[in-house]
Amino acid sequence: MAWFAARKVLQTLMVLLIVSVASFSLLKLAPGDPVQLMLGSEYSPEAHASLMAQLGLDRPVAEQYLRWLGGFLVGDWGTSFISKAPIFQYAFMEALPVTLTLAASALALAVLIGVPLGVLSATRKDTGWDAAVATLTLTGTSFPSFYLGILLIWIFGVKLALFPTLGFVAPWNDLWGGIVHMTLPAITLSTYFLAMIVRLTRANLIEALEQPYIAAARARGEPRWRVVWVHGLRNVMLPLVTILGLQLGALLQGAVLTETVFSLPGVGQMMTSAVLNREYGVVQAGVMMTACLFVLTNLAVDLAYPYLDPRLRPR
């Protein structure tokens, strides 16, 4: 068990190391001279040279990388040359919580609605219900989220005027305001995952319900709801956790687009404006945060397997 965990952790660190080298190269590959950009109108060859030395840019590349990595680990992510504010503050303390709130709400919504829909579909296999759910999931997995968001704004924001359509209110400051502002974005982002979860629940539950122990439970006289929701659904847990880990990338990617639809000041908006302003340090911060989040979640999923399924416990 310890050996298994240690190997997974090591593998994850390796991936993160490669990602960090790639991210660092981003700054090196970026066109233009960052020092010149930073100096702006105060440019002079002397100022240029002194700032280069001050930033350590006159050192060998390997040393620059190690310094950069060390700085990254302690939250020294450089300074934005537009706002002159530390990037860590902006990216990690301000933008990331917005994205995480959106992603978590969408995920919660997808699980809370998706699992019951999947159960409905599995227990009423080959009926009109099942067909309706199948059509919904097919549409859900391929509908572009940013277009769905605009449709929701039009219907619920403009026509029915039920929800605000723009901006972010932190639920930890104003719970109700936060929920109201997050409703449409969360629905938008959740659709794809909802559809995935329905499909997954349906397929795994149908398979589980054909197992002999389900028949045995029925024969013991256990009520049908208990057989389905307890004995049957337990088999859906593992694939569900797996898919949530694997699809986290899709979740973050969808969050980036959804944020732009609803003008939420998250990582997506941050990276988009950084690309337009050529703020490579901010793009880099976005890349590193996303990669860490994705890789660490997958590590957590891998480590959780043995707890979720006794059969997977290494002996």
Partner: protein, 296 residues
């Protein structure tokens, strides 16, 4: 990273024949309809100048933001007085060209890396697969954003950025297929018979890898279109006034309260194409992927 479990030994089924595909299509009405829809998009893209009533960037100064109506602008005009129907038809060109181009780059890159890793084994394989792990550690859109920040904007840049972002998943499947083929008796036999290694790769490994790769590529076209139009929607992909759907939806977003058709028309075009492609993709996968058949 979650480990990929290799499918049990045993080669994928021989490619189905055209007759088989036709039999499948006849028994799956939605598959047939989806194919027809996809074909309609391809035709609209190919013959855009003949099908579209206006040039995509023609501005009708008398008709800004006019709603869809019978007349010169069937689906209305945008804030520049450009005909939405025409722009949407021309948009099919960009969507399909970018999607196919990006998938071609991704599939080719994946073929090279996956073959190199699967065939070499040892340290080279290990290093290549860790590189692929790193590629897979970033969602395609985020990676494409990072590339765009270096490359700049434009149609060719979007194709390249999205294409490179797709290399990761392709490499993984190709390597898996190579490992499977390598374990087959006929490959070992060829080696024992003294057939040159390169010849074995060319005659035996490559054909068994190319086909599943082609199937996967077909399925990924819709994803590539989604990611590239997402980039344009964010405003960092294709530049205006290119009639790109993502860009048109982004422009329409600002006018959604009083001119919803500006985003609605190109968005519907994109959504219908993606749904059609995903039905086609499901059919193709069901037909050609025996792994899936067993699981279903």
């Amino acid at each position: 990273m979650a480990d990929v479990t290799l499918p049990a030994a045993g080669l994928r089924r021989r490619p189905a024949t055209l007759a088989g595909v036709w039999a499948y299509a006849r028994s799956h009405v939605w598959f047939l309809i989806a194919c027809a829809v996809a074909l309609a998009y391809v035709l609209a893209a190919a013959f855009a100048p003949w099908v579209a009533p206006h040039a995509p960037t023609d501005q009708d100064m008398m008709n800004f933001m006019s709603p869809p109506a019978w007349g010169p602008h069937l689906l209305g005009t945008d804030s520049f007085g450009q005909d939405l129907l025409s722009r949407t038809i021309y948009g099919a060109r960009y969507a399909l060209a970018i999607g196919l181009g990006a998938v071609a780059i991704g599939a080719f890159g994946g073929l090279v890396i996956g073959m190199a890793a699967g065939l070499s084994g040892g340290a080279v394989e290990w290093a290549l697969m860790r590189f692929v792990d790193a590629l897979l550690a970033l969602p395609s859109l985020i990676m494409a954003i990072a590339f765009i920040s270096i490359l700049g904007q434009g149609v060719d840049k979007v194709v390249l950025a999205v294409g490179v972002a797709l290399i990761g998943p392709f490499s993984r499947t190709v390597r898996g297929d190579v490992l499977q083929v390598k374990a087959q008796a006929f490959v070992e036999a060829a080696g024992l018979m003294g057939v040159k290694r390169l010849m074995v790769v060319w005659r035996h490994v490559l054909p068994n890898v190319i086909f599943p790769l082609a199937v996967q590529a077909t399925i990924r076209v819709s994803y590539a279109i989604l990611v590239s139009s997402g980039l344009s929607f964010l405003g960092i992909g294709v530049t205006p006034p290119t009639p790109d759907w993502g860009l048109m939806i982004a422009e329409g977003r600002s006018f959604v309260s009083f001119a919803p058709w500006i985003a609605g028309v190109p968005g519907a075009a994109l959504a219908i194409l993606l749904i059609a492609l995903s039905v086609v993709g499901d059919g193709v996968r069901e037909q050609f992927d025996p792994k899936l058949k067993k699981e279903a």
